[in-house]
């Protein structure tokens, strides 16, 4: 009987020359600190089957794969070049951007989020930026509620999303380890200036009768808008009553029809598109999976709303060899940013798959990884690091701030085991929050191997991070901010809302 497992039969370890290790000509100081690794055979050659018929798609795919083989085929995985990436990401914050970046003028909060979150993943203390993040974002709050992409611009849900994520990240960093009263003070300075009431009213204006959301008033409808809106609502601590709305004012429940809308975005391919009938796409898949997991636990979220098996099949087909990275759509090229958009989906679908398996018996079953962490790590370290800092789509393409954040987030997804734990659900924060399920995600450095149907076997996956100096920070799998930041923020809202209630009562008296 042939066995499924004995793969990755690599060739004999070959000792790469320095030139091979450094296609970009840079020299990594600790290049030789690790033992050489056998390069799995799948990274050394083109796929076993190539059709004779050539089209534009196959030509692009072939030339990309050939180009990438030169980079991924390295016995010594290059280390994460932390220092130069940090420098690349600090530069726009400290020095500002040249006029050539004017195309990002309607995405100012995105710029802050990408750089600051990426620095945080790299282990930098971004707390020092908190006060300047606050003063940079205040002028973006629109007088009628919500956030614009810049001062004086119309409110846009992605601007609100990126603003809140940035604030959550820097306030978490600066308040860690502080006594409670000082911590509350940090959060007050960071968040109390946001007009939550007007923001909520504005979000009501972009909600559509079909359960979807528009990105702004008069703007386009897609699942990105829905995901961003839910994240903002979850992180700003709105409770059930606020979201239900006031029928006497003609307000409808804000969350009604939302899950149904997301559900309708699963396509004939099994993946998920920007809106119903649109082509399945990794970026939108992440938005929908994460959004559904904000509304319920992963098993209910993904298996009740979606055809989970077809979703997993489509997600799995996004990972290519020899490249090791993910593509965003069928018959498209790999791109480092899908390390998050597709890579980030895995912890969510695995949590659902595990819950389903456990439901069949009484033992703790783990289906193990449904993807290749090692292949993604190889793609990221060998192909996505720009020679002068920053991370990128693929070799030959200039790094940017967007890719830096999403490649690093994907690296965090590959290095850590993120799992859903509702065993202490009752004692966790905000048991009554509509988004309580989002606060039950945990991380571990130990990635479990699959166990048998009876829960036996298992053990931990070895060699994901051979050198701890390459390990990056842990991130919340739905919010994409440091794991733990969501809980700190939530406990501040609880305190803040209690105080506001007390104030309201004392005013009434």
């Amino acid at each position: 009987m042939v066995q499924v497992d004995p793969l990755e039969e690599g060739e004999q370890p070959r000792f790469a020359t320095q030139a091979e290790n450094n296609p970009d000509g840079t020299f990594h100081q600790n290049m030789y600190r690790m033992a050489p690794e056998r390069v799995p055979a799948m990274h050394l050659n083109l796929p076993f089957i190539l059709d004779d018929l050539e089209t534009e798609t196959s030509q692009k795919q072939l030339s990309t794969a050939r180009n990438i083989i030169r980079s991924v085929n390295q016995s010594f995985l290059p280390p994460l070049d932390r220092a130069t990436h940090v420098e690349f990401l600090l530069n726009p914050l400290d020095e500002g951007l040249s006029g050539g970046f004017v195309a990002l003028d309607a995405s100012r909060p995105w710029l802050l989020y990408w750089c600051i979150n990426a620095l945080s993943i790299l282990g930098e203390d971004v707390g020092a930026y908190n006060a300047r993040v606050v003063s940079s974002l205040k002028p973006l709050q629109h007088p009628n509620g919500g956030f614009g992409g810049g001062n004086g611009q119309a409110p846009h849900v992605a601007a609100a999303y990126a603003s809140i994520l940035t604030l959550a990240t820097t306030s978490y960093h600066v308040s860690r380890g502080l006594p409670e009263n000082e911590r509350l003070e940090v959060y007050a300075e960071s968040f109390a200036w946001i007009d939550r009431g007007k923001l909520l009213q504005w979000i009501r204006k972009i909600k559509l009768p079909n359960g979807g959301f528009k990105v702004n008033e008069g703007g386009e409808e897609d699942v990105r808008a829905g995901y961003c809106a839910l994240v903002v609502l979850a992180l700003l601590g709105y409770d059930e009553e606020e979201l239900r709305g006031d029928p006497s004012l003609g307000e409808l429940p804000l969350l009604s029809g939302v899950a149904e809308y997301f559900k309708n975005c699963q396509t004939w391919e099994g993946g998920i598109g920007a809106k119903p009938n649109a082509e399945a796409h990794g970026g939108y898949a992440f938005c929908v999976l994460a959004a559904l997991c904000l509304l319920s636990g992963p098993e209910e979220a993904l298996s009740k709303n979606l055809d989970l098996n077809r979703l997993i099949s489509w997600l799995s087909a996004r990972q290519y060899a020899p490249e090791g990275g993910f593509s965003g759509r069928t018959n498209k090229l790999v791109d480092g940013c899908y390390s998050t958009w597709v890579g980030g989906c895995w912890s969510l679908v695995e949590a659902a798959a595990n819950a389903i398996e456990c439901g069949k018996g009484s033992t703790k079953v783990n289906v193990g990884d449904l993807w290749s962490r090692k292949a993604l790590i190889r793609y990221i370290l060998t192909c996505c690091q720009g020679p002068h800092g920053g991370l990128r789509d693929k070799p030959g393409i200039r790094p940017d701030y967007y890719h830096s954040n999403y490649v690093l987030l994907g690296l965090s997804a590959a290095q850590h085991y993120y799992y859903y734990d509702d065993s202490h659900a009752q004692s966790s924060v905000s048991a009554k929050s509509p988004f309580r399920h989002a606060y039950r995600w945990k991380s571990s450095k130990n990635v479990p191997k699959p166990s048998g149907d009876d829960g036996t076997g298992g053990g931990w996956l070895e060699g994901l991070v051979p050198d701890e100096s390459d390990r990056v920070g842990v991130q919340h799998p739905l919010f994409n901010i440091p794991l733990g930041a969501e809980g700190q923020l939530q406990s501040w809202w609880e305190w803040f809302n209690d105080v506001s209630d007390v104030d309201a009562v004392s005013r009434e008296n």
């Binding site: 914050l93 002028p139 798959a353």
Partner: protein, 338 residues
């Protein structure tokens, strides 16, 4: 006055036509992070836009101003939104008809198309176009415009989203649409966006309705021909399976078709990993777990090794669907170690 689509520069600060607008500076707050060192022209145009927006001023001049800003930053959603409001205000005041403006919806659409060709990855341009066509309620020429875009990038997500909206809005589920997809797939049978659109126009738009007679058979045949031309192309395989599901046709009916591309006991003759994947499902449904597992083993070991863990998971699920035969009927399975 300059025409609204010309590159002729307007100096907003000195042009008397703009004297009635008070420019408003940008407030970036105290010690802002990641400030952009704007070119002076951008700063000036943006201060006039803020001035214009503050007094809700809509005139033909605003078309020039917004076009100027869009030429410097095509992703400026606020500017696009304000431009559309201005166009609507001009129409409401009959300014297009009486020749005062030298502008029209047609000119606007031509201008938008020229911008679209410069900035292919842009949400706003296609949304603006959608707003206009929605308002005019006339799709004439729009399919041709999107076809022009497909000539340079046949997988442009924004253009495809717009095309879908167009088809749905104006009920263009017709032969022309089907022929265009056939043409695009003839050019590149791996164009998954074209496959997606084909599914939308043939089956996806039906909702819970049943397809018309012959549609399922026609689409099965279309996918099979495409597969035969390049069996390792995932798009028509996914399409074929989706058509079967929609038509309630048993997947097992594909057994012989798949086996010609992937005889599982003649490894050297296997020409499609997707045939192996499908065969594993078919053998599983038929209760032939040994063969189902063999297909997965071949995928993991040789034909799609990066997905090894997924194939292992699929092995775990073998026999798990509702058509599972009773234990006594099961082919004995030797469990491989995971």
């Amino acid at each position: 006055m300059a025409s609204y689509d010309s590159d002729e520069e307007v100096d907003y600060a000195t042009d008397p036509a703009w004297a009635h607008i008070t420019p408003l500076p940008q407030d970036d707050g105290e010690n802002p992070l990641a400030q952009i060192a704007y070119h002076p022209e951008y700063v000036l145009a943006m201060s006039y836009l803020r001035g214009v927006m503050a007094v809700n001023y809509h005139s033909a001049q605003v078309l020039k101003l917004t076009a100027d800003i869009i030429s410097m930053n095509a992703a400026h959603y606020t500017v696009w939104g304000y431009r559309f409001k201005t166009l609507m205000a001009l129409e409401a005041s009959n300014s297009f008809e009486d020749g005062k403006t030298n502008w029209s919806w047609r000119k606007e659409l031509d201008w938008v198309q020229s911008i679209a060709k410069q900035y292919e990855k842009n949400y706003q341009i296609w949304h603006h176009r959608q707003l206009i066509i929605d308002h005019l309620n006339d799709p004439t020429g729009e399919r041709e415009r999107t076809n022009e875009m497909f000539a340079s990038d046949s997988k442009n997500y924004h253009v495809w989203t717009y095309r879908q909206w167009l088809v749905k809005k104006f009920n263009l589920f017709d032969k022309e649409e089907l022929d265009t997809m056939e043409l695009l797939l003839k050019e590149d049978v791996r164009n998954n966006s074209a496959w997606n659109h084909r599914y939308f126009i043939t089956l996806g738009s039906l909702g819970t309705d049943s397809p018309a007679d012959g549609v399922i058979d026609r689409e099965i045949e279309f996918a099979k021909v495409a597969i035969s031309s390049a069996p390792q192309n995932p798009s028509p395989w996914n399409y074929l399976k989706a058509v079967l599901r929609k038509g309630n046709v048993d997947l097992v009916s594909l057994k012989e078709f798949c086996e010609q591309f992937a005889p599982i006991y003649s490894e050297d003759e296997i020409r499609s990993s997707h045939a192996l994947d499908t065969l594993s499902e078919i053998y599983n449904a038929a209760g032939d777990f040994g063969k189902a597992e063999q297909a997965l083993v071949l995928l993991a070991a040789k034909f799609d090794p990066v997905r090894k863990n997924y194939w292992r998971y699929r092995k775990r699920l073998l026999g798990a669907n509702e058509n599972v035969p009773t234990a006594s009927e099961k082919t004995p399975v030797v469990h491989a170690t995971a």
